[in-house]
């Protein structure tokens, strides 16, 4: 029935890594993800895992280490944040296009500048087109649960996967958590036995070929298909995880959306705060709901259309700005999804919020619903590109 514990998000992810006992970890420390390789290296030093821990000189090298190890046939992991993720970017594309299912724990943090160590999603969103699967966690429990499901998902479609949680908010806050017994974790995650790998001397293999224009697009189309296929795999693994733990996961989570007329779409820890606002407003008789995106890559187009097709108005909550003088990344993809599906009745606005660790409170989210209510009543959308709780 699970093990009751209280852990920070970083401890929970490190503990999941220990239970899985992967083959190789290449890592370089950066706040707020530093604790993950720190705790894990303790497990290595204590002989609790037999992972090869490679302390490298940069995140670029950390990801290169993972690429080499995974190509060799090993299960490789890393952890990073913020500019560390930026510094990995070149190699993130290589990992994805070489179809290597590496698992990366991302603890989301703002990018400079101004220099800031606190949470937003600009790091993860900055690499959203690198070809990695991206799962986001609301709580410590979800950070742990997502990590246990990550390898099953990535390895099924031969794509690397990052499990993202919010820096400090979940990574350092200690919460009650239910851990899965290690024997069950091992049975659920399984071993990694790729068909082809570099250290297989019976079948020589070349990885990372040069692709001339005559081949490059065919490779990319096949890579795109793997991401399309990942949608069903994420749902299947999330359902199977639910059968084991009672906690079922999909691409999105609908919260009090049954008859909702006003909805917000949100990612990560602020969903918890927003659910509290929804509860308060529901108690006051307002028909409000919330959609939480768990999988940003693949983008859950069909599920979001289904969830939002009957609302009058919605707000996309972006914890990152694209600086396109228009909107954040989630609003762009959400509205594109609705338009492509012919769903044009709901009015939608975008809120950039919580940048660089700016506190997001229940009242902040209530103000968003108040704006949505105004739009629903007047039909006037006004400015769609907004900053939440900004001092004017």
């Amino acid at each position: 029935m699970g093990i009751r514990e209280r852990l920070s998000g970083n401890e929970a992810v490190a503990y999941a890594m220990k239970q899985i006992n992967p083959d190789v970890m290449g890592a370089f420390p950066i706040t707020p993800s530093t604790e993950i390789p720190q705790y894990f290296s303790t497990y290595v030093d204590n002989g609790e895992v037999d992972t090869e821990f490679i302390a490298v000189e940069s995140e670029h090298s950390a990801m290169s280490t993972c690429i080499g190890a995974e190509a060799a046939g090993a299960r490789a992991i890393s952890a990073t944040s913020s500019c560390g993720l930026c510094y990995m970017t070149e190699m993130l594309y290589v990992a994805a296009s070489d179809r290597l299912p590496i698992t990366l724990a991302v603890v989301c943090r703002a990018l400079s500048g101004p220099i800031n160590i606190h949470n937003d999603h600009s790091d993860a969103m900055g690499v959203r087109d690198a070809g990695w699967i991206q799962l986001f966690a609301e709580t410590n429990q979800e950070a742990y649960d997502n990590y246990l499901q990550a390898m099953r998902i990535g390895e099924a479609v031969s794509l690397p996967i990052m499990t993202c949680q919010d820096g400090f908010i979940t990574s350092h806050a200690i919460e009650n958590i239910e851990l899965v017994e290690t024997d069950k974790v091992k049975a659920f995650v399984g071993e990694y036995h790729p068909d082809q790998f570099l250290l297989n001397k019976k079948n020589p293999l070349a990885i990372g070929a040069f692709g001339m224009p005559a081949y490059y697009m065919e490779c990319k189309r096949q890579q795109a298909q793997a991401m399309i296929d990942a949608k069903d795999v994420i749902k299947k693994v999330g359902k199977e995880f639910g059968e084991m733990t009672g906690r079922t996961y999909g691409l999105i989570e609908n919260y009090r959306m049954e008859d909702a007329e006003e909805a917000i779409v949100i990612i990560g820890s602020s969903a918890g705060t927003a659910k509290e606002a929804v509860n308060e407003l529901r108690a006051e008789g307002r028909k409000v709901g919330l959609v939480k995106i768990r999988s940003f890559r693949p983008f859950p187009t069909e599920d979001l259309c289904e969830a939002l097709k009957n609302v009058k108005v919605f707000a996309a909550m972006d914890k990152d700005d694209s600086f396109n003088a228009h909107c954040g990344p989630m609003y762009a993809e959400l509205t594109a999804s609705l338009y492509a599906a012919g769903i044009t009745a709901p009015k939608g606005i975008d809120y950039i919020y919580g940048l660089g660790g700016r506190d997001v409170r229940v009242d902040s989210i209530r103000r968003v619903y108040d704006e949505l209510d105004k739009i629903a009543r007047t039909g006037d959308v006004g400015e769609t590109y907004r900053y939440l709780d900004i001092r004017e």
Partner: protein, 103 residues
């Protein structure tokens, strides 16, 4: 999933058929790829001047100067030669002349 050799991968291959991540299920596949087709200058060997000193052989960055079992160099392998001209500079006897490639 297809486990193709380099010779089976050509410009008619579809995205469903191409190997995962452009993997090639054998080693040493550069031998099968013509890398000399963008040459603008090419080396020509004047056998009357060549002393078979073989200084040119290790200077070639590719595999364009074959050496036979008799220990003597043969004519250029233009399948790989990109016309860099290093061999012509290395030759102490003026036995290698760079000429314009005509196609």
């Amino acid at each position: 999933m297809s486990y193709m050799k380099a010779k089976d991968i050509n410009e008619h291959i579809t995205w469903k058929e191409i190997t995962k991540g452009c993997e090639i299920y054998e080693g040493g596949t550069s031998e099968t790829v013509e890398t000399g087709d963008w040459r603008t200058m090419k080396p020509v060997l004047h056998t009357d001047k060549c002393k078979q000193c073989l200084l040119c052989v290790p200077c070639c960055p590719d595999m364009s100067i074959p050496v036979g079992k008799d220990g003597k160099r043969g004519d250029f392998n233009y399948f790989y030669c990109k016309g860099c001209g290093i061999c012509a500079v290395a030759c102490p006897f003026g036995a290698i002349e760079m000429v314009r490639e005509e196609k």
